[in-house]
Point group: D2
Chain length 174, copies 4
């Protein structure tokens, strides 16, 4: 499992709702809530996206980054980037969304594969030092998610030097 290990960098074919591409390494020192979804997944629409919005509203953007990850692993012909754009407009999603890079080997896109996600919606929480601390498929309670983010926020922010070299080794260039 990836838990408590450095979160792999996102593999993205397009970014929406952001003027420039994001990277987990550039978000170091913030807590990152990464929400994998598919636009036609009922649980994502009823629960995942509202919770992602609630995270965005509940915490300062200086402290917590919320990123949607559109990880299409079925019905690729319908859940296109253009369809996603309409979906995000209609559902008023105003945080950055990454389109997970399609794989040439199968239906599961690359970031979803690398994070070993079981499906959508999945919530991933990454700490200020860039480690994956929580990965959950399906519905997670607001209080539990709030508590996890609260605990990650309470971590002292690692100094740049410390961040570069953690117990896992030295993460040069991130």
């Amino acid at each position: 499992m990836l838990i408590n290990h450095p979160a792999p960098e996102l593999q993205v074919s397009a970014w929406l709702n952001t003027s420039q591409p994001l990277s987990l390494s550039a978000l170091r020192r913030k807590v990152v809530a990464l929400y994998a979804f598919q636009m036609l997944c009922p649980g994502c629409v009823s629960h995942g996206i509202p919770q992602a919005k609630l995270i965005r509203e509940s915490f300062s953007a200086d402290e917590v980054a919320v990123i949607g990850l559109h990880s299409v692993f079925e019905h690729h012909d319908v859940m296109t980037q253009r369809a996603l754009e309409v979906f995000m407009h209609e559902y008023r999603i105003n945080f950055p969304v990454a389109v997970d890079m399609p794989s040439s080997n199968g239906p599961v896109p690359l970031t979803m594969e690398q994070y070993q996600l079981r499906g959508t919606p999945s919530l991933l929480l990454i700490d200020r030092a860039g480690k994956l601390r929580f990965s959950h498929f399906g519905r997670a309670g607001d209080m539990q998610v709030g508590a996890l983010i609260g605990q990650l926020l309470a971590d002292p922010v690692a100094s740049p030097d410390n961040a570069a070299c953690s117990e896992e080794g030295c993460a040069i260039g991130r």
Copy 2:
């Protein structure tokens, strides 16, 4: 307004979830709940479609017909028939759905235009004699909708003779 007048026949480019096309005239003697929606309309997904399913579960199919009407008036390039099929599969919609016939004159499809709908979701209730009795845009309460259908169900079914010749003409054999 169309209320209390004969409900115009549906103008449909394709039918889903039914082995053969339906028509309001053939449904005479049943109450018809016609639910206009768009697959990427948030209010349709959160409220309209669950209410349409609830109508389907609450009444006998011998007494009440539930028909979805996919009335796309925006983002036509994304809300295609193929996308609708995926949507209906993911959201487990198991009642017949008509694709509202596109217009050559503008974005609003023909049935939506003819019924003068203000948007989606819209609920239309048609009585056993084929008259439009209720047309509502937006959220309608379950109890109100139940009461309306209950009252329409209590109408004595028109005799075959009466049903055979309405303002639309004579529907022999129905």
Copy 3:
């Protein structure tokens, strides 16, 4: 069972929210929704009373009478009339409430006993002719309740003479 038989008259030790006692016989020609509850019953508070209020808001008081029935069958020392008054004030219950008459033979009050209720909340629907048409313990869906009331409303109002003598016989004194 009492279903489809004349609804027995209420046995009441006190009336609240009404300037004078009500009787089912005087409500003949209206549909009556009788909602049995206890003020400290969680299901009554979370579901029953909100549904009773929704019935009150959804139908004209000229057509549908809503009556609460405080049927205390446990913890009598705590659920007193004075406590009920506070409860009704705090929960803003504005329809008439009857206090079910205590029994000298056991904890179950007389009206609850006569209607053979299984517990609280219980919803009883009485038609315009004074017959019990629905008796349900626990949660009933809003659409189902709406449909039932709608159908009862569609019954032609019986004339006073007809109401006195129905198919069940002559309901003298009611």
Copy 4:
């Protein structure tokens, strides 16, 4: 305001759901969620008590203490200890509840007065060192409450020496 100051000890006339009286000083080193409520307060029943239960379920009892505080400031004749016992039984409240000590000077009980609460429900969060960190009247979101508790849990536990010298007296240095 009391925020960030040592939380005053509770003034209690009776304890329920606990074999012996609790005190904030004895709970030092835990986060304490103190939930003030009245049994006939609609917002307490619909929101406050469910949230108190959710806190109890979401965190280890070794880390977070949940205490109900029955702060009756109106209708004292009805919201008696006996009525509270029935209420707690019916609503399956299984965490300790303190009955706030009545005042001889007015309707507001002593703990409620000392904490300057505006009404019920009110949620108070006390950190591991015994300081009041959050006081909120009305509805608070689950994610916000989770985040606050998560952050308080992340505080390093004060050393036994500091904790020992802290029963409202030695607050300096915390």
